[in-house]
Amino acid sequence: MNKRYLISILFVVCLSFLFSVMGTAKKKIIIKDPRSVCVIVNRDSNDISFMSLKTNKIIGKVFLGKWVNPHMAVMTPDGRKVVTGGTRSNKVYIIDVATLTLLKVIPADIGPEHLAISPDSRFYYQGNPDGDAVTIIDLVSLKRIKNLGGFAEPLNITFLPDGSKAYVANYGGHWVGVIDVKRHELLKKIKIGDMPSVSQLDPKKYLSEIKGISNATITRDGRYLYCADGDLGIVGVIDTREDKLIKIIRVGADPWRAYPSPDGKKMVVVNNGDETISIIDVRKNKVIATLEAGPDMVGVNFSHGKAFVISSSSSFVYVYNLESLKPAGRIKIGRNLELQTAATDAAGEKIYLTSSRDHSIYIINGKTNKTTRVPNVGLYPWGSFILEGRDNYCH
């Protein structure tokens, strides 16, 4: 009798525990479809916001910690995790997308900013410009594999579509580093252009501050990389099969980086030195148009055959028709704003532009050029990301 009584009690306890666990787990799933959200990295509120693309409402935030100041957030291609580097905490943060929980904090090097994820969602390469190193993290074991040094202010990192190599742009130098992803070793250094001999006459420019390569922009087919060099005013084209510089294209003054058009036929380079953009024909590797633009350009997005060039300090987005290669007006986003980078959705219809000073996201309709403001997304939004979006980049 006693035994039966005890077994019954034990059964009831186990059952209730099981139900409670199941109930808790069900409650925690916040994002079912990772493609349905826009990830917003908020520099000053030290969190990552997740905004619904359907309702334009913030559906969740993940606080990273005080004094983190995240710079760029990227979702893994499998949509399971969001990773970001805390520039002032010298750590990287891995977030579970479904439950919006912070999975792991891993030490990086000094000042982590831009990052890239391998196409198979396995490896997370975090550039540390102040540490001259790339931190490599295994996203399966959530452990740091190594801190790969030998770079010069590594900014953006680009993986080949097959994930075999990663290219690291060095803003503190004039070369692109090639990493073997299997061994996580720096294989090669590809020089972009020759320094002019007259540069020796200008130590004020060449020895005080360096504006090298901020990004190795890959063509849509993954065959070539376009690397703009700020000091030299050129774009070097690298053949990724041979890791060889095949062409140097002269563009405007102080080019920041190249952005590929959706059809893969053109590259738009923003030249902040002379406030112009250069449009390069990828097939001919020639500049086919140089057009007036605005000051402090930080990004280019594409929609409906148009290029939307973000001019940070002017509060304007300059629009260009990529067919006629002519300017097509500009969109006044506001007054006294500081526009940052933007992501284009998967359909190429809408552009999600971050505006840091007024803590907002501006959604630009690519067809009509009309904007919709979503305020209070977090403090000082610095960048956005949409899984499978057409344009995802950081400064």
């Binding site: 520099r43 000053d44 509120s45 030290n46 005080k66 004094w67 100041n69 002032r88 905490s89 002019p196 001999s197 007259v198 006459l201 200008d202 004020k204 420019k205 030299l232 005013g233 050129i234 294209i249 002269r250 020639k286 500049v287 086919i288 148009a289 140089t290 057009l291 007036e292 304007f316 300059y318 629009v319 006629s324 290669l325 002519k326 300017p327 097509a328 007006g329 500009r330 006044k332 007054r335 006294n336 000073r357 007024d358 403090l379 000082y380």
Partner: protein
């Protein structure tokens, strides 16, 4: 049961201790190792002793153990607790110090930004952050929407370097920026055709310096002033020509005297689509622009290759320029300036110019080209009207062609009007020695029948041909040197045909 376990453990301990004691005792008393009792026997002795004294020894040992070990255990436990507490305290202290270091010592204080904020204000001056229910809490009067500026703390850590840079940038934006630009030009004309008394192989030098002041007194508003001094001798003083071999010489009003060349205010209206510039203007900065032939400090030095001769704006003076620029392929410009020799009122005689600027690329066959047409008038007299075209079309990314045409109407005293043509090609990298160098070839043909500048004409028209080539060597951001060769092919001014070859060197610095 516990007692049994205790007893058995005690027995084993006693047994081992006894054995050990016996072995040591025998070894110490035995004269040599050879006489030592075999172990087996010792074990037997031990067994016997165990049987005899086991109970007594067990009790004794247990008591001794308790007496000796209990205080030690108590002391050890106390010490252990104490060490643990101390360690925890220390960890806590270290964590606090680490937090302090992370928060303050390594980097800087929190960042503050000033932010525009929407507020709701009552009639009595009370301010609310939200609209509430649209009424003031105390008097139920309606709330009025307004805005203010407020400091806001942000959780952003900045390095000291970043803060210094931000402070410098802020200081720069608040103050007046000053820039200096200087040009020196040396030319030596060699006579190929003309009178024997004309100059040949003489050395001419001119220098100019501009000091710029730029400030931004309000949003989208800029103030600009340019104080200039020009001195020296131009070959145009000795060689009669209408193309002007040194463009600086044309701008020379008073030798080696400081004068205000420009001073204006610029603002942007109607969604920043309309640019308004008011003040003392140089209209050539807004009209007849050309990417390849428009700058006497880095491109051609022949004045006819800097601007269209028939544009003929008055010397810099009070005026207004309106530029409608919706950032498409079309721009419209309208300029007004005080007319020549006006002393009484600015409206006495107004120089008016209108320009249309269109961006064209031959449907993608060529890179971009700018096509501009202008029309100017001063008063209603026919001879004060002119129109012109200006084209700069990129043929490739490194080659730009340019062309200018001008047509000025003349009074009925003359049989034909004045005409002006110029054109050429500009080359950039990879067709240069260094990546930022440039070089160009240009030609000018002027056919002038009349004009107040050339009132010394007695008969016929002036026809002049000129060719210029230059190579601009980009040395540093602040220093450029260019080498020029001008060939005044034929000029019939003063009814005498002249021809000169004029090599020159120009140095340009900017800060």
């Amino acid at each position: 049961m516990l007692q049994d376990i205790y007893d058995s453990i005690t027995l084993v301990i006693i047994n081992d201790l006894t054995l050990h004691y016996m072995i040591v005792l025998l070894e110490s008393t035995s004269p040599s190792r050879e006489h030592t009792l075999p172990i087996k026997e010792i074990k037997n002795i031990g067994e016997n002793m165990k049987i005899i004294n086991i109970r007594f020894l067990a009790c004794l040992f247990a008591c001794l153990t308790i007496i000796l070990l209990l205080p030690c255990t108590l002391i050890f436990a106390r010490n252990k607790n104490s060490t643990k507490a101390s360690r925890e305290q220390r960890i806590e202290q270290l964590e606090k110090r680490l937090s302090d270091l992370e928060g303050r010592a390594i980097l800087s204080d929190p960042e503050f930004i000033i932010k525009k904020k929407v507020i709701w204000v009552c009639k009595n001056g009370h301010q609310h952050d939200s609209k509430l229910d649209g009424k003031c809490p105390f008097d139920n009067l309606p709330l009025k929407k307004s805005f203010t500026y407020q400091r806001e703390k942000v959780f952003r850590r900045q390095t000291i370097g970043e803060q210094i840079a931000a402070a410098q940038s802020e200081q720069d934006s608040k103050g007046i920026k000053i820039g200096i630009s200087g040009t020196t030009m040396f030319q030596t004309p060699f006579r190929l055709k003309g009178r024997n008394s004309d100059i040949n192989g003489d050395f001419f030098g001119m220098g100019s310096m501009d000091i710029f002041f730029i400030s931004r007194p309000a949003l989208y508003t800029m103030f600009f002033a340019d104080v200039e001094v020009i001195g020296g001798l131009s070959p145009d003083n000795q060689i009669a020509n209408i193309s002007f071999l040194n463009s600086d010489g044309v701008r020379l009003a008073l030798n080696k005297t400081l004068n205000l060349r420009e001073g204006w205010m610029r603002t942007e209206l109607f969604g920043q689509n309309l640019i308004v510039v008011v003040g003392m203007l140089d209209l050539t900065n807004y009209f007849d622009l050309n990417t390849a032939a428009n700058d006497e400090t880095s491109q051609f030095i022949t004045d006819a290759l800097v601007n269209n001769l028939l544009l003929a704006p008055p010397t810099n003076g009070g005026g207004v320029t309106l530029i409608f620029d919706p950032k498409t392929d079309l721009k419209l410009k309208l300029g007004f300036q005080r007319g020549r020799n006006v002393k009484r009122s600015l409206t006495d005689k107004v120089f008016t110019i209108f320009e249309v600027d269109y961006l064209f690329n031959f449907f993608g066959l060529f890179p971009e080209g700018h096509y501009r047409a202008w029309y100017r008038l001063e008063g209603t007299n026919k001879e004060n009207m002119a129109w012109g075209l200006r084209v700069d079309q990129k043929l490739t990314a490194s080659i730009t062609s340019f062309f200018r045409f001008g047509h000025e109407f003349t009074s009925s005293r003359f049989a034909k009007n004045n005409f002006f043509y110029s054109g050429g090609l500009q080359f950039k990298t990879p067709l240069t020695f260094s990546i930022r160098d440039s070089w160009a070839l240009g030609f000018v043909y002027s056919d002038i029948a009349s004009g107040e500048n050339f009132s010394n004409l007695t008969t016929g028209s002036i026809q002049e041909y000129l060719v210029e080539a230059y190579y601009n060597l980009f040395l540093t951001e602040n220093l450029k040197i260019s080498f020029h060769l001008q060939y005044l092919i034929d000029s019939n001014i003063e009814t005498i045909k002249r021809s000169y070859l004029v090599p020159g060197i120009r140095t340009q610095f900017d800060f």
